[in-house]
Amino acid sequence: MTFYNLLSSIFSYIFTLIIYLFIFGVIRLIYLDVKKMSRFDDERVNVSGLETASLKTIQSRSHAENELKKRYMIYGQATVGRNKSCDVVLREKYISGEHIRIWYEKGEWYLEDLGSRNGTYINGQRIRNTVLLDAQDEIAVGELHFLFEL
């Protein structure tokens, strides 16, 4: 029985280690989760001091719909596309890796197409060059429709 007692007391340290590693792992994942959410979801607080605008999702029959947020915030400038490096990531098959860029300059908002394959439509018209955006413009990329709001 003494062998068992020794084994057991050694294991008591191992158990403590495992439990605390477990807790640490959970805390780390929760922390990562919180960081990920606050980077994209904080709509009311604008800490950047930049000009803000937003893309409001219009209901469409796209398959990607349940993955979409109701509103995407834009702080100063944003690229929209399928790549993870984009500020607004839209996972939809007709959207290019880097589809459009929206930015603020001297009191106006601009939009340019970054050479997407399927083009960008503003209020139903396909755009060729950089365009000036107005509030309530409807932006169509791929099969998704957004309303540009200030």
């Binding site: 068992y4 007391s9 807790i23 929760i30």
Partner: protein, 414 residues
């Protein structure tokens, strides 16, 4: 990159598996290589894996709460198997039942939308359960709160806690705003609270009274703008507590053993002093699973399991349990804050309070921080009804978090 990310969130799950393997392996050696122990461990591990896999694959909202609950159950079952193997085996059967109850509660809560209109149903069901307990009840350890159904004894008051929380949520989510006759909802909730507490007094189930009343007070504190109402309730509680202390021998004993258990060490103070000895002998890292002597503490498998954990896994083990409950409460509060629906918010908040208050009361009682009232430590203690009811509340919280994740602002699960 994607693969690395996948590995990331499974890592705590690996640690959980490791804990099970080591723990049951150790107990296997202790019970002189009795293969029954290995079956028990494999069964428990299998249950956890099924539960966790379904949660991750079906994108059932938050992944961490169930994982932490599994860790708590692991610690509990290890201790129970060490105290008495038959307790451990029965506990695992209850965990299996609880797992099924978890998914049933999840599906039912997720798909039914009219929970907030049924306050009357909750009151009637709750009262019915109380009456059934009073009529058919059995008295175990001074509390008449057990009903024997065939071979198993169940504790209906555990279930009443969930009904009561769902009832309170009806009022606080403003779904119940029409007065019934001359009774406004606010006073209605007050009356139902005291009705339930009255039934519990008849059953001498002091722990549940404390839990229900704490839930009521905290909910009022969070939702009610009128602090006078809150203060009035607290004052009423103090008066009742004082009267109880004056006239009920039972409560006097509890308080006197809390103030000085050494006075009557062989009789009324026996349990709490043994618990304190056990905690003290555990030291920082514990004496090791199987080296302690938790058998000296009465009721060590249910109410006093925390003392056994402290003895065999050390103060660090005990602190880990408290930390796990903290994290569970944090996650659940977060779900409650993010929930869009007012009723979901209130229910999630109430259930979280239930876990938190119960943990505080029993851990505080075992370490002689507050007077002792018998109540189970959620997920850790032995107790069929308690495990099942905790799993049901977990399922409801999971459903709320899944709703939030699927219909709310953020993208679907990873």
């Amino acid at each position: 990159m994607a693969r690395f990310k996948g590995l990331n969130y499974r890592r705590p799950a690996y640690l959980l598996i490791l804990m099970n393997l080591f723990g049951f392996g150790l107990l296997f050696v202790k019970n002189s290589y009795d293969t029954k122990m290995l079956y028990v461990g494999a069964g428990l591990l299998g249950l956890f894996l099924i539960l966790y896999t379904i949660i991750v694959l079906c994108r059932m909202g938050d992944k961490f709460i169930a994982l932490m609950a599994c860790m708590l159950i692991t610690i509990g079952v290890l201790l129970l198997c060490r105290i008495d193997l038959s307790f451990g085996i029965r506990q695992i059967v209850w965990v299996a039942v609880g797992g099924i109850a978890f998914f049933v509660a999840y599906l039912v809560y997720y798909h039914i939308r009219f929970w907030d209109r049924m306050w009357m149903v909750y009151v009637i069901l709750g009262t019915g359960l109380f009456l059934a307990t009073l009529i058919f009840g059995k008295t175990i350890n001074g509390a008449r709160n057990w009903i024997a159904v065939g071979n198993v004894t169940v504790q209906p008051s555990e279930l009443t806690k969930i009904l009561y929380i769902m009832f309170l949520a009806c009022y606080y989510s403003k779904a119940w705003d029409k007065p019934l006759g001359r009774i406004t909802p606010k006073w209605g909730t007050l009356m139902v609270t005291y009705l339930f507490i009255g039934f519990l007094v008849l059953q001498r189930d002091w722990g549940t009274i404390l839990v229900l009343f704490a839930i009521y007070i905290f909910m009022t504190y969070v939702y009610e703008k009128n602090y006078g109402f809150l203060l009035m309730n607290i004052a009423a509680a103090l008066v009742v507590a004082f009267l109880g202390y004056r006239f009920l021998y039972h409560i006097q004993v509890r308080v006197s053993t809390w103030l000085n258990p050494w006075e009557d060490i062989s009789n009324t103070g026996y349990q709490i002093t043994q618990s304190l000895f056990a905690i003290a002998s555990g030291n920082y890292f514990g004496r090791g699973l199987g080296n302690g002597s938790p058998g000296y503490i009465p009721e060590v498998h249910s109410d006093f399991i925390f003392a056994a954990v402290c003895e065999e896994m050390g103060v660090f083990g005990g602190a880990a349990i408290i930390l796990l409950f903290f994290l569970i409460a944090y996650r659940c509060f977060k779900i409650a804050i993010l929930a869009k629906d007012a009723y979901d918010k209130a229910v999630c908040f109430g259930l979280t309070l239930m876990f938190a208050v119960q943990t505080f009361i029993i851990v505080g009682g075992v370490i002689k921080l507050i007077p002792l009232t018998g109540i189970t430590l959620p997920f850790v203690s032995y107790g069929g009804t308690s495990i099942v009811v905790n799993f049901v509340s977990l399922g409801i919280i999971q459903a709320i978090s899944a709703k939030e994740e699927r219909h709310g602002g953020e993208k679907g699960g990873r």
